[in-house]
Symmetry: D2
Subunit: 115 residues, 4 copies
């Protein structure tokens, strides 16, 4: 089974076993997701960009756990909304590729999308 599908099912079971569906509205899950995103940001806030690319083992493990947390809530949110997050990402890349043609953007822009 695809890895994200498997994760989705496991999280569904996890919430159902604890009777947590009552708390898992999209509104609440979006809040929980941004809180985890901020815990990830926190690890980097006082580092230079260079330092952020050279974390030691302990720090990397902490960051790894935060990435797990963000993915957990993002997956759970997408599931509650009936959205396939990977398909959504691929569709967004198509939009971004049209917006940022290779020939026009080499080194001149830093982003996947014009936010």
């Amino acid at each position: 089974m695809d890895s994200l599908t498997e994760l989705t099912h496991k999280l569904r079971d996890f919430a159902r076993e604890r009777d947590w569906d009552q708390f898992h509205s999209p509104k609440n899950l979006a809040m929980a997701m941004i809180v985890e995103a901020a815990e990830l940001v926190e690890h980097f806030q006082w580092l230079t960009p260079e330092q952020s690319a050279a974390l030691n083992t302990d720090k990397l493990e902490e960051v790894r756990q935060e990435i797990g947390d963000v993915l957990i809530y993002l997956t759970r949110l997408a599931d509650q909304l009936g959205i396939d997050p990977v398909a959504a990402a691929h569709d967004k890349i198509v939009i971004n590729a049209a917006k940022y043609p290779v020939e026009l953007t080499r080194g001149s822009a830093a982003k996947f999308k014009n936010t």
Copy 2:
């Protein structure tokens, strides 16, 4: 190939073709990710939890694109750090399951983790 692995590769190509690796430090990608997370939150900020679970088609498509954006930056960040985000999520679920045993948490807690 697993869906998230495929997405990782595609994003790697996307950045390399545009010479964007220079901007994609973990620090910067974490910032970009939380900005996208906030665009997701924005859709829900004035809705009741119930309304957030009953989006119309247009709104749902907008939310879907934001979910794609968050996954794009989360995947890219994990790749730059050499982290497998799905494995990280599964490891986190094991930690959470120990912290929130089914028999103790039914309906009494709302979260996957003690944040």
Copy 3:
């Protein structure tokens, strides 16, 4: 002296005494600020809107400290950029008042601005 001016001066001294100006770029301070904002959001993530308006004394004190943290970083960021945050807020209200005339918006919109 105006309360926010006084706070600005105190934070300036606090950072200088600890030699922290080197870390307080606007980029880093904006990251620190959103991390504190998320700690505030975390208190409300599983509450209903109604529950969020009826916090008990302990919770309210925790929330109060987070509000202090957000204001600390927002004030420090504004100071590093030479911006008066209160004047900025008043200017933004004028913009919002033009965008949301009273007669058109009574109860029909939930926000200060079209985000």
Copy 4:
């Protein structure tokens, strides 16, 4: 009148005239505040720390407006909770000063608080 008190009153009138108190639960206002905080972060995401300290006039004005937005929602949130944000900030500085004594922290730490 103190500047932040005046801002509080103006925002109270603004919401009441539009019948928006119904939307302004602490939960919703915290969400709105972090969304504005993210719009501020977005301006800095691809900049180096040095570039973030040297914004051009147009960019600085955009950042100024976002700072105004964050302060608007922070002030509104504090008012709905009956909290004085400046007093909360001062109390937090006292806590931080005890946690980070000058003699121990010169240049060695980057933060106001142990987050």
